[in-house]
Symmetry: C2
Subunit: 218 residues, 2 copies
DNA sequence: TAATAAATTTAGGCTTACCTAAATATAAAT
DNA sequence: ATTTATATTTAGGTAAGCCTAAATTTATTA
């Protein structure tokens, strides 16, 4: 059983479990880009390795060991992203794929040295929190623009890392972490959100406004 | 055919071909830690991929494509070694294994950024030359201590990266790149070489003296 | 409640890179 | 030149992680 596959499965299961309470076969298959049958195979093997609990037809849930591994991978991924931006002049839209590869060949020692070189950062370039070495994930409180009300204001503290294209667009619009914005209008008709930022009015699509978070407790 | 195996075979073949003119099956097997039968299998596949020429019983020799790949891997390995030392406080005896893993997940872009961040270095932390992006390997001229004569003197420009233990010992003795030394005696009895360095006399075993090189043209 | 749809598992296969042991080729030594 | 030793190849097998299609289970809808 090889490193990369195991780690990718565990990461995906972790994400699905966070979102849906359990990682169903088909969702996993879609996320990993493999067939459903392959997932069933692999999930059984990971269950044998005590990384997850598997009940046929009920999906998978990580064991404490599995969760520990998942958080370790998330930590490595986000540390690498931060490192690439800080030391190698990557932009926030360029780091995801590189980190995806690097995370699988990162020793304990390398992880520690990167952490130290960065001054023990708490978040990655997209504002996602970096789990501690002990596997603790402190989540900051924030609210997506689509959940905000008109005249809410705050500072962008997190942006979804789902699409480089979207991140590039934000850069172009002058929006980044720590940018101060205000909700100026919510368009019922199409679900857009219009924000003001330094005097300018910027309209954001529904998807976009779900991807941007400001520091207002939910 | 996966990345890592292909790259490891090509690297090993490159090294053997440099040393012996050809990469014989058994040597390759020993270097890679696999059985001879496995090597024959794999070498045939690499031959199909036009990375090497293979004549049964005669060993393998890289094609231009194969050599290009080999030098690319050597370049990435040595850039990573330099990077780990320069940016992450690794010692020269700690970098080999990390680089061995990192080199296989290094994109073109990452390679370039590391190169730039380091200021386009010419050698790695052990004094091994770093091939250019175009695959050119400029080898510096040097001579191993065992090939030197009494009263030869110069500066250490390269040290074999074969054993972390040996590198640690050198550090302990105060010997590193750019250290100035002089051959003070060659002991016929056991093949030792005695050097002077900053007034101190330091005896070096035959193996050790084959692993240290100073800047005297051969 | 029975029929239908959707999700999941099972079964049989493929490829890659490895293994071991037997067969064969080459090289060395008598 | 023939034997002996060494190197190499061949042949048959294995484990991982994937695939597809058939069988089964679960969920939904009539």
């Amino acid at each position: 059983m090889d490193n990369k596959s195991t780690e990718d499965y565990i990461k995906s299961i972790y994400r699905l479990e966070q979102d849906n309470g359990t990682a169903l076969t088909t969702s996993l298959a879609r996320l990993l880009g493999v067939g459903a049958g392959s997932v069933t195979d692999m999930v059984k093997k990971l269950s044998d390795k005590r990384l997850l609990h598997y009940e046929p037809y009920q999906g998978a849930k990580l064991t404490p060991d599995g969760k520990r591994l998942a958080l370790k991978m998330v930590r490595r991924h986000r540390l690498w992203e931060m490192f690439l931006v800080t030391f190698l002049n990557y932009k926030w839209d360029e780091v995801h794929d590189e980190a995806e590869r690097l995370e699988h060949v990162t020793s304990e020692g390398l992880e520690q040295r990167i952490d130290k070189a960065l001054g023990y950062p708490k978040v990655d370039p997209h504002g996602d929190p970096i789990p501690t070495a002990e596997g603790e994930l402190i989540d900051v409180s924030y609210k997506s623009l689509s959940d905000c009300n008109v005249s809410d204001e705050g500072v962008i503290v997190r942006v979804s890392d789902d699409s480089p294209e979207m991140l590039q667009l934000l850069t172009k619009l002058g929006l980044g972490l720590n940018t101060k914005i205000r909700i100026s209008q919510k368009v019922k008709y199409d679900g857009s959100v219009i924000i003001t930022m330094g005097g300018r009015e910027i309209p954001l699509s529904p998807v976009m406004s779900k991807s941007i978070f400001i520091n207002i407790p939910e």
